[in-house]
């Protein structure tokens, strides 16, 4: 049984290390980065070649919603092939990618059926050799562009030919420096109060503070990490159902006291699956009769009934708990009564007779003050304490010192 535990410890450590490094490693390589105020920029550009057709030049700037997207073939979490948008710095000369422009709405077709179209924005779009119109609904090539359609222009399976990462004129220490970007340089727009974010050169304006440097790759893999997290969470649900199924199966076999409640578990699982699998009654609508019945008439009613019982328990608990035993208890009860009454329409009804001049003494305003000032101060202290505890616990989980969670 040692090897599963070692695997758990190893995976936990690597996953934790990734997220820690993602937070602490700067987005660009320290020492090889340059920081300054933008005076002007020249956007990145590249050419892409398909077969024997001449190479098509593209510039990475937003020209009427026609910024080129570089799409590289990848596989999703289920292993299905998909095209994922990739920054230019991650594709070098010689890489194969699909270049997509758009989308735009067709206003009218000019010339031949596949030659040129005028977009709804009035911009003239025409195909170059190697490019094709692609339907936005299915991303399949279309032979006839028709008015009203939403289209992309695509150059499929093109070979990236020449790459110019662009340049920027920066003001550093009163000097103007023309900085040419490297093939893998990332541009981080900095701001005084918030974290920096990656931008393209054409998104920068004169006066923006920017940092250029070779990318450290953690941020690029965040989406993969998010998918990994999604898979693990879904697996946990599956394991949960399996575990519950085993427990209830054992109940049915051994038949201890109250064994028949396990039948309800299996019935609920079957009904839940049936409701989830039910086909959409009318394609393109949200109507699913059996699922709607299960959710709105069964689950909603049962959950609401269970939850509404809380109100009665809370009323009885409040009656017993709020007793003036000492000064602190009296203070707590007083503030609880003010907040409770202030949160209901009766609060303003009882005190609004004092008029606008004394509105600070209206019950809702006193309740709001209690929540915004003493409550906020108390919660901030509480959050600091909780976070310190959470940090210590997280460290124990990460290093698998919490033995109950690592399979022991």
């Amino acid at each position: 049984m040692k090897s599963p535990r070692a695997i758990t410890i190893g995976v936990t450590f690597i996953a934790g290390l990734y997220f820690i490094l993602d937070f602490i490693v700067p987005p660009t390589l320290p020492g090889a980065s340059i920081r300054g105020v933008v005076a002007s920029t020249v956007p990145a550009s590249f050419t892409a070649k398909s077969g024997d057709f001449p190479a098509i030049p593209y510039q990475l700037s937003d020209q009427g919603n026609m910024r080129p997207q570089i799409l590289v073939a990848q596989r999703d979490v289920l292993g299905k092939p998909k095209l994922a948008s990739t920054p230019l710095r991650q594709v070098g000369p010689g890489s194969t990618a699909t270049i997509r422009l758009g989308p735009f709405e067709v206003q009218r077709v000019v010339g031949g059926p596949t030659d040129s179209v005028v977009g709804a924005d009035g911009i003239w779009h025409s195909l170059k050799p190697g490019q094709t119109w692609v339907d936005s609904a299915t991303t399949f090539p279309v032979t006839n562009a028709k008015p009203g359609m939403t289209l992309y222009i695509e150059q499929p399976n093109a070979k990236i030919d020449q790459v110019d990462p662009g340049s920027a004129v920066l003001l550093i220490g009163g000097k103007r420096i023309n900085h040419r970007l490297g093939a893998h340089t990332v541009a981080i727009k900095l701001s005084r109060y918030t974290a920096g974010s990656e931008v393209q050169l054409d998104e920068l304006k004169a006066g923006d503070t920017v940092q250029f440097g070779p990318a450290t790759t953690f941020a690029d893999n965040r989406d993969t990490a998010a998918q990994f997290n999604l898979v693990i969470t879904t697996m946990a649900f599956g394991i949960g159902i399996l575990s519950l199924g085993m427990v209830h199966s054992r109940q049915l076999i051994k038949r201890p006291k109250g064994w028949y409640t396990s039948i309800f578990f299996f019935a609920a699982i079957v009904l839940g699956i049936a409701a989830g699998l039910g086909k959409y009654e009318d394609p393109g609508t949200s109507s699913r009769a059996f699922s709607d019945f299960m959710v709105m008439r069964v689950i909603a009613a049962v959950s609401s009934a269970v939850f509404s019982l809380l109100a009665f328990y809370m009323a009885a608990a409040a009656y017993r708990a709020f007793r003036i035993r000492n000064g602190e208890a009296a203070l707590m009860m007083g503030s609880a009564l003010i907040v409770m009454l202030g949160q209901t329409p009766f609060g303003s009804y009882l005190t609004s007779w004092m008029g606008e001049r004394f509105s600070a003494f209206w019950l809702p305003n006193i309740a709001a003050w209690i929540l915004r000032v003493p409550n906020t101060a108390m919660f901030r202290g509480l959050i600091f304490g909780i976070m310190l505890g959470a940090f210590a616990t997280a460290l124990r989980y990460w290093l698998s010192m919490e033995r109950t969670t690592s399979g022991e």
Binding site: A84, S85, P103, A137, T138, T139, T150, T194, A195, S197, R222, D223, A225, A226, Q227, L230, T233, T234, G276, Y280, G284, T285, S286, S291, D292, V295, M296, A300, A301, S303, S304, V306, F307, A311, F312, M314, A315, A316, A318, Y319, F322, R323, I324, M333, A336, L337, L341, Q343, T344, P345, F346, G347, Y349, P364, A368, L371, R372, N375, T376, F379
Partner: protein, 293 residues
């Protein structure tokens, strides 16, 4: 007299239940409307949703479920009504919630859409449910369509013929504001959705857990908050003041549910005060008994 008052110290649980049932039940039988006082955080949330920037959408994370529908349903209804009466397009999705959350949200969306003539795909899109917070929160901020490749009706989100609204929804920069409607909204949204804090984040939460969000309101990380059924009722009042007859509140629940809630709270307050009178009376009786002994 003192003996009678001392009996208030130990009122049987069932008596409290009966009084609470009567107080909360009467407003359902006799329609009553109470005047509403608008709290500052509700007004801020309303104003943030009202500010519509061109080509931007309101994003709503609808994570409420049948258990919390007493408070979250009227809140969600009021927010959707505001978007629809204002013709502000919105997207709605659920993250790590009960699997029935998207269905509950869609029920409200479709009913309100009939009132205001809104069309699915053009005025709103329901993107369904996903899991994996908080990393998914960051991923939604970076690219909505990479997280939600299909909507709740299984239409691809890249299908701009059927979902023209999705053409303008790329990342968090396309949100004019971001709502989380949940019993206890996850504060990770504040950290992970938009690290640059450009989008106003608004919470619609249950009354009982609201006190924990006030530090984030005062720091400005939350731009507004709708608290419980009371907040929903205030929202409806603001909608009526703003839009007059254009706003149709016939089926909305906020102002209807706030009345039994207020009466229920009043009963609890009365019992707390009565219990304390009973305790004082009992102590006096005990002190008198000691003196006579």
């Amino acid at each position: 007299m003192l003996k009678f008052l001392a009996r208030l110290d130990v009122v049987p649980r069932r008596t409290i239940y009966i009084f609470l049932l009567i107080a909360a039940g009467i407003p359902f039988l006799v329609p009553i409307r109470l005047p509403m006082y608008i709290w500052k955080e509700t007004r801020s949330a309303f104003d943030a949703t009202q500010v519509v920037q061109p080509n931007k959408v309101v994003a709503i994370c609808s994570n409420w479920d049948p258990g919390s529908q007493g408070e979250n349903w009227p809140q969600y209804e009021a927010i959707v009504a505001q978007c629809m009466v204002n013709h502000t397009p919105f997207i709605v999705f659920s993250v790590d919630s009960d699997p029935v959350s998207p269905q509950l949200a869609e029920t409200v969306n479709e009913r309100e859409a009939k009132k205001y003539g809104c069309v699915y795909g053009r005025d709103w899109v329901n993107l369904g449910l996903t899991r994996g917070a908080p990393l998914t929160m960051g991923a939604i901020g970076r690219s909505v369509k990479s997280v939600f490749q299909h909507d709740y009706r299984q239409i691809p989100t890249q299908n701009y013929e059927k979902l023209p609204l999705m053409r303008r929804v790329r990342d968090v920069r396309d949100f004019s504001c971001f709502w989380v409607v949940q019993y206890q909204p996850d504060l990770n949204w504040v950290v992970f959705l938009d690290p640059n804090s450009r989008v106003p984040i608004l919470f619609a939460c249950a009354g009982i857990g609201s006190s924990g969000y006030y530090p984030y309101l005062s720091s400005g990380q939350l731009k507004g908050m709708v608290v419980g059924t009371r907040g929903a009722a205030e929202y409806e009042v603001m909608l009526r003041d703003k839009f007059g007859k254009r706003f149709d509140d016939r089926e909305l629940r906020g102002q209807k549910l706030v009345v039994p809630l207020a009466f229920g709270n009043l009963v609890i307050i009365v019992f707390i005060i009565a219990g304390n009178i009973g305790t004082i009376a009992r102590r006096r009786l005990e002190a008198q008994a000691k003196v006579f002994r």
